[in-house]
Assembly symmetry: C2
Homo-oligomer: 325 residues x 2
DNA sequence: GGTGTTTGATAAACCGGTTTAGTAGAATGT
DNA sequence: ACATTCTACTAAACCGGTTTATCAAACACC
C-alpha cells in the first residue's frame, strides 16, 4: 500500500529527516534554495504523502472534533451537524459524528472513545444524564460545547433556542385564532427541551385564562404515541388544535391522522416544533416553529474552534430565537 | 489535560509497559492473577485512558473510514450515510464524512486528506471525474466502495440502483394513465445517474410510440431551473406531467409551481426520483421513486468492511431496485 | 586575527503505544 | 541429575513524524 516515509524522501533528496520535516511545515527560514528543490523533487518522484497519525502523536493535536448527537433521527440534528461540518471543513478540521440514541450509557461510551481518539474537542447534544462526566471534562479544560439542551449547574458554552418562549407564542397565536381546545403531544419529559416546551404551552393557556386539561397533554414514546392519541381523540371534547413537540412526534401524529382520515387544516390545526424539510414548499396548512439550525451549528463550531485555539473566554449561553412560520 | 500514559500505569503497578499492553489487549495467556489485579487497580487509581493514536501508528489501522459524498444536500446521501454510520458503529469503526460538493478537485483533496489520516478505507459517491485517482487506489488494493454512481472501466465494488429501469417504469405508468405530454427536469448531464434517468425517460416514450420533444427536457442547474421552467410552461402545448430527476430539482420545481399557482395533482402530475421525507405521510398527490437507501448504505459498509478485513473477493456491482410509490 | 552572529542542516530524543526476542525460574520428562 | 518445556514477565526496537540541542561554515565587526 502506501509505504513511502519521510526517511525515504530524505534519503532520495540526500538530506536529513529533520530538514524534510521543516520543509513540509514551511519553516523555510534557514533553508537553501537547492535543498528545497531537491526535497520537492524527491517528494514528487516518490509520490510521498505524509502520515497525519504520526504527526498527531507528537503534536497532540488531531485536527478532529467529535459530535455526539442525542438522536440523529431528528431533522434538526442533521441540520446542525451539517453546519458544524461545513465550518470544520473550512477550518481544516474533521468531524466524527456519533449517535447516542438518547442513551446516556452510549453517550458516555462515545465521549470516552472520542477522547481516546484524541479528538481536539467535542460538541455534544447532551442526554443530560452524565453530569459527572460533563463536569470533569469542563474542569479538565477540555474544549466542549453543548447544543440544543442545557445542562444545569455547569459553566459551559451552550447554544440553545428559546423553547418555552417560542412555544408560548405559537400557542398564543392559536388562542388568538379562537382555539380553546389545544392539545400537546410530547415524548417522555426526560430532557430539558421537552419540559420547556410544555411550560410554554401551559403558561400560554394560563395567561389566556384557559384551563389546563391534563387529558389534552399526551406524553408518550414514539411507538406508544399512536395509541395514546387514539385516547385523546375519543374524548368528548375534541381538540381543535394540536402541538407536536418535535418532528418525530409530528410523524407519529400525521400517521395517526392519516389512518383516521382526520385532515390537518380542515379538521384540526397543527403546529410542529421543528422545521420539516420541503413541507413549507407545498400548500400545507401546517405551522412550524423553526429553529435557526444552521446558525446554531455554526456558532457551536465557532465556539469550539476558539476553545481549541486557546482563545480564553468565559463560558456563555447563546440563545437563538425560533420563528413561527 | 489527559496525561496518564501506559508508562505511568506500569510504574504504579510495578510491572513493565509490555505487560500492561498485553493486559489491555486481553492477552492473558501467561499472566499471573495478582499481576492482573495490580494493573487493574493502577488503571483505576490513575484514571488511565489509552491513546488510540499511538496504537494506530504502530498497528497501521485507525478504525476509521472515510465517506466522500458527492453532494450532501441530497436527502438520499444523508440516508445512505446514516446507514453506513450505523454499520460502522456496530463494528467499532468511525466514519468521517466529507462533502465534495460535486467538485472533482474537492473530491481529490478529500481522498488524499483521508488517506493521509490513514483511514482504513473509503466509501465514495464519485463525481466521476477522477478516474486516474480511482484507478490508482484500486490498483494499490486500497479498500474502496463506490455508491450511487458507477464508474466505467473500473473493477471495483459498487452499490447502485437501476436508474434507467425505474424511470422507465414511472414514465410508463404515466403513459398508461393517459398522459402524452410528459416533461423531464434534470440538472446538467454530467453524471451517470442523470443520464441514465434521462435514457429511461426517452426509452419509455419511444416504446409507447410517443415523440420525444426536446422542449420538454429541461436541463438546468438548480439556480437556473426556475427560469428554464418558465420557458417550459409558456409553450403552446403544456406538460400534463413532470418528472423531477432528483430531490433538489423537485424543490426548484415545487417553488416554481407555488409561485405560479399551479397545483400538483390537479394542474399537473409530479414524480420525483428520490424519496422526500415525511411527504408520503400527507395526502399529497406526488409520486416518488424511492431508492432503498438504508440497504444500499449497509451493503456498501459491509463490502468495505470485508475488504478491510482482507476477505478477498472479486469486485462486483450490486444493483438495488427502486420502488415507485 | 579573534570573536560574535547568522545561516543551513543534522543527530537524537520524543510522542505513547505494540511487538519481538529473550530470559529467568518452575515444572516436567527420562 | 540433566535436558526440555512452560510460565510469567521484560528490555528494546519500532511506527513515522516533530522538535530540541548542537554543530560547522560563512559572514560581520573592530
Amino acid at each position: 500500500m502506501q509505504k513511502v516515509t519521510m526517511a525515504d524522501v530524505a534519503r532520495e533528496a540526500g538530506v536529513s529527516k529533520s530538514t524534510v520535516s521543516q520543509f513540509l511545515n514551511k519553516r523555510y527560514e534557514y533553508m537553501g534554495e537547492k535543498t528545497k528543490r531537491k526535497i520537492e523533487e524527491a517528494i514528487e518522484a516518490l509520490g510521498y504523502q505524509p502520515n497525519f497519525i504520526a504527526r498527531s502523536l507528537k503534536q497532540k493535536r488531531t485536527s478532529m472534533v467529535g459530535i455526539i448527537v442525542a438522536n440523529i433521527t431528528h431533522y434538526f440534528s442533521t441540520e446542525v451537524t451539517r453546519a458544524i461540518e461545513d465550518f470544520c471543513h473550512q477550518h481544516d478540521l474533521h468531524a466524527i459524528v456519533c449517535n447516542a440514541d438518547d442513551d446516556p450509557e452510549k453517550e458516555k461510551k462515545y465521549i470516552e472513545m472520542l477522547q481516546a481518539k484524541q479528538v481536539d474537542g467535542l460538541i455534544i447534544f447532551p442526554t443530560g444524564k452524565n453530569n459527572e462526566l460533563y463536569k470533569s471534562m469542563v474542569k479538565q479544560g477540555y474544549p466542549v460545547v453543548f447544543v440544543d439542551r442545557s445542562v444545569e449547574e455547569l459553566e459551559v458554552f451552550s447554544v440553545i433556542t428559546d423553547n418555552a418562549q417560542s412555544t408560548y407564542r405559537a400557542i398564543q397565536h392559536f388562542i388568538n385564532g379562537g382555539h380553546k381546545h389545544i392539545a400537546f403531544a410530547v415524548q417522555p419529559l426526560t430532557v430539558s427541551t421537552r419540559m420547556e416546551r410544555l411550560e410554554g404551552y401551559k403558561k400560554a393557556l394560563r395567561d389566556a385564562g384557559l384551563e389546563i386539561n391534563p387529558d389534552f397533554i399526551t406524553e408518550a414514546s414514539i411507538p406508544e404515541m399512536k395509541g395514546k392519541l387514539k385516547k385523546l381523540f375519543s374524548l368528548d371534547v375534541k381538540p381543535t388544535a394540536l402541538f407536536a413537540a418535535n418532528d418525530r412526534v409530528f410523524m407519529a401524529v400525521t400517521e395517526f391522522l392519516k389512518e383516521k382520515g382526520i385532515q390537518p387544516g380542515k379538521d384540526i390545526e397543527l403546529v410542529v416544533f421543528d422545521n420539516i424539510p420541503f413541507l413549507h414548499l407545498l400548500e400545507t396548512p401546517i405551522s412550524f416553529i423553526t429553529q435557526p439550525a444552521a446558525e446554531m451549528g455554526t456558532k457551536a463550531a465557532e465556539l469550539l474552534f476558539q476553545q481549541i485555539n486557546q482563545e480564553e473566554k468565559e463560558p456563555e449561553v447563546f440563545v437563538f430565537p425560533s420563528r413561527l412560520t
